[in-house]
């Protein structure tokens, strides 16, 4: 089947399109930073009560969770991924503007819901545009590049917006976010529409198979590797999501004068590591296969949890964040890659991204509760050990259950395709 695909439409993305995608990912990550935990700080300064802030964030989180699969299905159904992405970016800009202009309950709630919905589309859309542009064969390298530019974007934005928030105001951060959507759209424009093959972007058959109707939606539920992978990722995020906030909280508690710079370092160190390592991970995902790297990512998380429990100096805590960078790199590159592997030929790549996104979201939203409860009852060291134990369960699950998805019968073909596509 892959050979048929090769004959019919060899992906030949132009440099313009590839660079366009680089910058699209970069600026989008930039713009998304403003919607992070900063929202709570901003609304606090706007005299919001903690209850209202919590309510808005919870509703936004629920929409982000529920919207994952519809968002993916929408991208799968789209004739042009670029148009869908463009509308989502505009929605993002509108949301940021609403935050900045009218910080009253109804508007902020609407803005948060709008942002969550847009994010549900933008997440799969990046994967879809990448796949549509370069095809399965060169996808490892492409996702490596995406991860590099995304973390560079997020890193610069965290630095820049942190500074703006400190020197100007938190409100200014949201106006900067609106402004950032302009280069995001310009970068999207650089990607040539003709080079993003819609069929390929959905993980579908590149050649029309008469008499083979599209696989039904529920076929995903029977996709064993996909379900195992989603389960493993849920465990990963159950362990991972609370680790950084908990680390930052410990740093705030332990360091008197340099807490803010150290917390900033805790956030930035992983981004730097991702930017440095991602292309290498992308290459190795083809050479070594997905499984060894996935194990590296889960292993790094367990070791990190254990180290955070044992280490007490705030500076060492920051150093441990290098491990966060390693697991973040592996996940950033391999999650979309493995989903593309296991949905190859189904036409449901983006729906599957949404499904995995839901699993990730559930893990990530339960994580702070578990960590918070454990910290209150037994202290942060026990909480870190608990998170490390969850990560270890994830590691063992990958080891025992997760099949290698990148090699096998199609391995050599993939290798040939890759060389053909990059030369």
């Amino acid at each position: 089947m892959q050979l048929v695909a090769l004959r019919r439409a060899p992906p030949s993305p132009s440099r313009n399109s590839l660079h366009g995608l680089d910058w699209f990912v970069f600026f989008l990550a930039d713009a998304q930073v403003g919607f992070g935990p900063l929202i709570a700080v901003y609304l606090t300064a706007e005299k919001w009560t903690q209850g209202d802030i919590g309510l808005v964030l919870t509703i936004g989180g629920l929409v982000a969770l529920i919207g994952q699969m519809p968002g993916g299905a929408l991208v799968d159904a789209a004739r042009s991924e670029r148009v869908v992405a463009a509308f989502a970016v505009i929605a993002l800009a509108a949301s940021a503007f609403m935050f900045a202009a009218w910080p009253v309950f109804a508007v902020v709630l609407a803005a948060k819901v709008l942002h969550s919905a847009a994010s549900c589309i933008l997440g799969p859309a990046i994967g879809a545009i990448s796949l549509g542009l370069v095809g399965h064969a060169a996808l490892g390298d492409r996702f490596g590049r995406n991860a590099r530019f995304a973390s560079l974007g997020a890193g610069f934005a965290a630095l820049g917006m942190g500074t703006i928030g400190y020197l100007v105001s938190n409100r200014a951060v949201f106006f900067v976010t609106v402004a950032l959507c302009v280069p995001t759209l310009l970068a999207l424009r650089m990607i040539r529409a003709g080079e993003v093959d819609a069929e390929r972007a959905h993980g579908g058959r590149a050649a029309p198979h008469k008499g083979h109707p599209e696989e039904p939606l529920w076929s995903l539920a029977h996709n064993r590797p996909l379900m195992i992978f989603a389960g493993c990722l849920m465990l990963f995020h159950l362990a991972n999501a609370a680790m950084l906030p908990l680390t930052a909280s410990v740093v705030t508690m332990r360091s008197s004068d340099s807490a803010a710079p150290l917390v900033a370092a805790c956030i930035l160190v992983p981004q730097v590591v991702v930017a440095a390592l991602a292309p290498w991970v992308g290459r190795q995902s083809v050479r070594l296969g997905r499984r060894p790297l996935l194990l590296l990512g889960f292993g790094a998380l367990s070791v990190r949890g254990a180290l955070l429990a044992l280490v007490s100096s705030p500076y060492t805590l920051v150093a441990v964040q290098v491990l966060d960078g390693i697991s973040a790199t592996v996940l950033a590159v391999l999650v979309p890659l493995i989903i593309a592997d296991v949905t190859r030929g189904t036409g449901h790549f983006n729906l599957a991204q949404g499904a995995v996104g839901s699993a990730v979201g559930i893990g990530a939203s339960l994580s702070p509760m578990i960590a918070g409860y454990t910290t209150d009852q037994y202290g942060s060291a026990v909480a870190f050990f608990g998170l490390a134990a969850l990560a270890t369960i994830g590691f063992v699950s990958v080891l025992l259950l997760m099949p290698e998805t990148g090699k096998g019968p199609s391995g050599p073909v993939t290798e040939v395709l890759r060389k053909g596509a990059t030369s």
């Binding site: 700080v41 606090t44 463009a86 503007f97 917006m161 930052a248 508690m253």
Partner: protein, 213 residues
């Protein structure tokens, strides 16, 4: 042939995308520019309105008879508001609802205000105020530390450890504690016994007035 129509379609689509996006960008900016200025105007307007309301209150205070007649016409409103109860005991001689006028420069809402230490270190923001059943304001909850909203801790500090500026804007609240004292405090959790970080527990002199800026 199939491919040809495909490319044509995408070309048209591309042009349309481009158009739609341009319109959207222009639209956003057209909306954005007047709105920001409108916001500022709106704010000024609301300030003016507040000023006018205050002036009106002054006039009312000077002509108590008018207020009284108005109140008699609406007997349903005669229950004095809970917040004014304390003052009411002194002033409520007639049937009218008593009111106290305070200059807006002398009193202000406290939620979201920045807090600094005596040494002018950033101590975060006031996010909540803790009041006892007796009505006594017991503590302020401050959101302390962190970066971009990550790693901040909410900590309850004794109300008497707060000093408010005697003149100028109320945005510079001073907390008579140091970062070192606050960072180690247990986190404030609603629904759990409160740990209030206070002056009594530490070697500080409550009598020391806050340095005035």
């Amino acid at each position: 042939m199939f491919q040809l129509t495909d490319t044509k379609k995408t070309a048209i689509e591309g042009r349309m995308n481009c158009f739609v996006r341009t319109v959207a960008i222009i639209g956003i900016f057209l909306v954005a520019l007047p709105e920001t200025s409108a916001c500022a105007t709106g704010w000024r307007l609301s300030q003016a309105a507040a000023q006018a309301a205050q002036d009106a209150q002054h006039q009312d205070a000077q002509v108590p008879a008018a207020t009284a007649t108005e109140q008699q016409a609406q007997p349903a409103q005669q229950t004095p508001p809970v917040s004014a109860r304390k003052d009411a005991s002194h002033e409520n001689t007639g049937d009218g609802t008593p009111a106290t006028v305070i200059d807006d420069r002398d009193a202000e809402g406290i939620l979201g205000k920045n807090v600094y230490s005596a040494a002018n270190e950033d101590m975060g923001r006031v996010v909540d105020v803790i009041v006892k059943r007796t009505g006594e304001v017991r503590a302020a909850v401050i959101d302390f530390g962190g970066f971009l909203g990550v790693g901040n801790r909410t900590i309850a500090v004794d109300w008497s450890a707060l000093r408010f500026p005697t003149s100028g804007p109320m945005d510079h609240i001073i907390l008579e504690l140091t970062r070192d004292q606050v960072r180690l405090a247990p986190e404030y959790k609603p629904g759990e016994p409160l740990v209030v970080l206070g002056l009594g527990d530490v070697q500080l002199h409550p009598e020391t007035p806050a340095p005035e800026h």
